[in-house]
Amino acid sequence: MSQPEPAGGIAADLRRPTGTPWAERLASVGPIVGLVLLCLVGAALNGDFATLDNALNVLTRTAFIGIIAVGMCFVIILGGIDLSVGSMAALIAGCVIMFINWAAGSGVSPLIAVAAGAGLAVLLGAVFGLAHGVLIAKGKIEPFIVTLGTLGIYRAYLTYFADGGALTLQNNLADLYAPAYYGSVLGVPIPVVAFLVVALIGAAILNKTAYGRHVQAIGSNETVARYAAVDVEGVKILTYMLLGVCVGIATLFYVPRLASASPTTGLLWELEAIAAVIVGGAALKGGQGSIIGTVVGAILLSVISNILNLTSLISVYLNAAVQGFVIIIVAFLQKGRR
């Protein structure tokens, strides 16, 4: 019989992996590194890229997708998905426009009509999210199916309300509402401020509340969460509502931009929002992801399209294709870490 190695116990301690694996750290800084590199490329290709105006322009364009992506980040960490956000935004936009026009037309003060319309956007988002949550959590239907269904439903109703055309805000009301998109606080466009605020609140909820921990727990392993007395159904419903509210907030800043909603409003927003979350390092199977990553991911995607717009390197028509490639490449890189 051979003798046991004297250092066995110490070796046993040493061989336990300590701390966060490097691959995971790479995943969390990866999007930031990517964004920085992309900005350097952009600056090298076109002198107009690295200007404050352009930066604010990119951020303003990012704001809608970014706000939705913050909510989407929760849903994806939960292990779910919402394919309907683009259609939902379009229908909310249409309803808000109809409501404001109607309210102002029935004698309510225009300012109150606009403010109530903005509130309605958030309320509608919450209601749609609640419907998703209840169908998914209580009805036990796959989120993919539920939101694929509502993707069609929402857009069809918008098209029906708009009679195939566009719903447009009356001019005087549009002017009144315009500052919500075109205004700025200390030089920062209001949608960017809203994006920042939503992201900060989102990060606080995800990392610093019991609810946020429960979202991660359910996404990581729903059965374990259930056996740990986590209110799985309640958390799921709340999370889809939270995304709905985010869509509502994004829409309330989007409406004044064009002051109209048509069947093409919000087209492919779901793709961009989901892409932002995934590029930001979240795992589509749930359990992990971060708000900072999502924010960086959203900005990264719009920087790509901005660079394409500013340079003639690749046709602008291939914008979505480039984004598609980015998503697939990022997913491939993620495969390595486990």
Partner: protein, 503 residues
């Protein structure tokens, strides 16, 4: 018989295995002769599973050589190993739930007739393999419909159909009933007689004593000894594994106040399809055991009581009737449940340690924002109190050894400070050393006034730990034994329903 050809002789020469910077095998050398049954022993994390994965082609050694029939081999995958007749039956099943038994047995080795599958031939061969392992199920039954013990038998049938010449079994009896174990052992005897080499990994030393010819012991990535089984006592084996003397496995029983109000009283509880009309009570400081065969409905009964599955009956906590519709209700009333399925239901293995610990009592740390510092302190206290050996507090639960995961799971369900805790198979897949620690922990909890229910398939454990043992059979509580009646023979008789016949 499907096992043609002689068994294989195998030799490990200075096998070193590293995962990144972590070395789990430090140069292991030994050889195996054909036609013998080897018991491979070691605590969790000793490296036996890694070594066997190297033998079966799932892992490649970082250094050293593997010799089969005295010739060096380099397997690039399990298919290469299987081609040489080396088959590993995993501890965790590798079955496709939606395929049939036959489909699983022939997965990756489908019989063909031209371009099409030869279903009839596969069906027939599968039935033959099932008959050998003694599983009375049609080969076209979807695996999804089988219970765990049956899945284990399918895994063994699968290995048989691969014409194994060297068979590695990792904890094959963890889920089997005594009669199934007996059948498995008869099968092993037959395979040995046919010259098949068998490596038998188990924590159950009585089984190792019964079935193996020779015992090989590993500890901390090294071979620490080998000896013919008859020359060793179970005590010798345990001592070799742990590397120190095990004085006694169980703490002394501490009496409790038998006149006290039961902290949990259940009357006529029924879980449709699993348990019927079960009544019992536990008092503060009492350890109540639940014995029974796999499928007797013990786990399901408690899942029903705790609101994890539908059930009806009267439940009273500390004398007051309660309705527990969901586990949240049970937790609020001071009931806590440790699942038998550590990885599937007990722990978030992808999470670090502290979030696992605090998950059931998070509201204590949210004021309103989560206090990560307080969580970390709680984790440090739990590491101390439960003897969890972790390299770092920020590591994931997945990288803890089985025994330490179990201690973490135990700490987790006790974190809400329950009055009653139900521990389902608290030492499953845990090595001897950790078992002892868990037994002492349980006893300490009871001494502090907690009512403890222990569901276990290891009768020795219940005898050593519990004040009383309730025995279930086919969903009914058939007997409660205490004192001198708490013997293996008595409990098995109740559990199998052979008591009246024998009497």
């Amino acid at each position: 018989m499907t096992t043609q050809g002689r068994g294989l002789s195998v030799a490990f020469e200075g096998i070193v295995k590293r995962f990144g910077p972590v070395e789990v095998l430090h140069g292991v050398s030994f050889s195996l002769e054909p036609g013998r049954v080897y018991g491979l022993l070691g605590e969790n994390g000793a490296g036996k599973s890694t070594l066997m994965k190297i033998l079966a082609g799932y892992e490649q050694p970082s250094e050293g050589r593997l010799l089969v029939e005295a010739k060096p081999v380099a397997f690039s995958g399990s298919r290469d190993a299987e081609a040489r007749g080396i088959v590993l039956i995993h501890q965790e099943f590798n079955l496709a739930e939606d395929l049939t038994i036959a489909g699983n047995i022939f997965l990756g080795h489908e019989r063909r007739k031209g371009w099409f599958l030869d279903e009839a031939a596969m069906q027939q061969e599968a039935e033959a393999a099932l008959a050998q392992v003694g599983l009375a199920r049609a080969a076209d039954t979807p695996v999804r419909r089988l219970i765990v013990a049956e899945k284990q038998l399918v895994e063994i049938a699968k290995a048989l159909s691969r014409k194994a010449r060297l068979l590695i079994m990792d904890e094959p009896t963890a889920t089997l009933t005594p009669s199934e174990v007996a059948r498995l052992f008869a099968l092993i005897e037959r395979m040995r007689a046919d010259g098949v080499t068998i490596v038998y990994i188990s924590h159950k030393l009585d089984e190792v004593e019964r079935i193996t010819d020779e015992v090989i012991v590993m500890r901390d990535g090294n071979l620490v000894g080998r000896a013919p089984t008859p020359s060793l006592t179970r005590h010798d084996m345990a001592t070799m594994m742990v590397g120190r003397e095990i004085a006694d496995l169980f703490p002394e029983k501490v009496p409790f106040d038998e006149a006290a109000t039961p902290v949990l009283k259940v009357d006529g509880f029924t879980v449709p399809g699993w348990a019927e009309g079960v009544s019992f009570a536990v008092r503060p400081g009492e350890i109540l055991g639940f014995a029974g065969l796999v499928g007797a409905g013990r786990t399901e009964l408690f899942e029903g009581i705790l609101g994890l599955r539908p059930g009806t009956g009267d439940v009273a906590v500390a004398g007051r009737p309660v309705t527990l519709r969901r586990l949240q209700d049970a937790t609020r009333h001071g009931l806590s449940y440790l699942s038998e399925d550590r990885k599937g239901k007990g722990l978030h293995v992808d999470f670090p340690l502290a979030p696992n610990l605090t998950l059931m009592a998070l509201e204590r740390y949210a004021r309103p924002w989560l206090d990560h510092g307080a969580e970390r302190q709680a984790m440090e206290r739990a590491v101390e109190a439960f003897g969890i050996r972790a390299g770092s507090l920020s590591m994931r639960a997945a990288s803890l050894s089985g025994g330490n995961q179990q201690k973490l799971a135990l700490a987790k369900v006790l974190h809400p400070e329950p009055k009653v805790v139900v521990l389902d198979e608290p030492t499953r897949g845990v090595d001897v050393g950790a078992k002892r620690e868990i037994y002492f922990l349980i006893q300490k909890l009871a001494r502090q006034g907690l009512a403890v229910v222990v569901i276990s398939s290891e009768l020795i454990e219940l005898i050593g730990l519990a004040h009383r043992v309730a025995v279930m059979r086919g969903g009914r509580l058939v007997a409660t034994v205490a004192g001198a009646d708490m013997t293996e023979v008595e409990m098995i008789a109740h559990a199998t329903g052979t008591r009246d016949v024998a009497a």
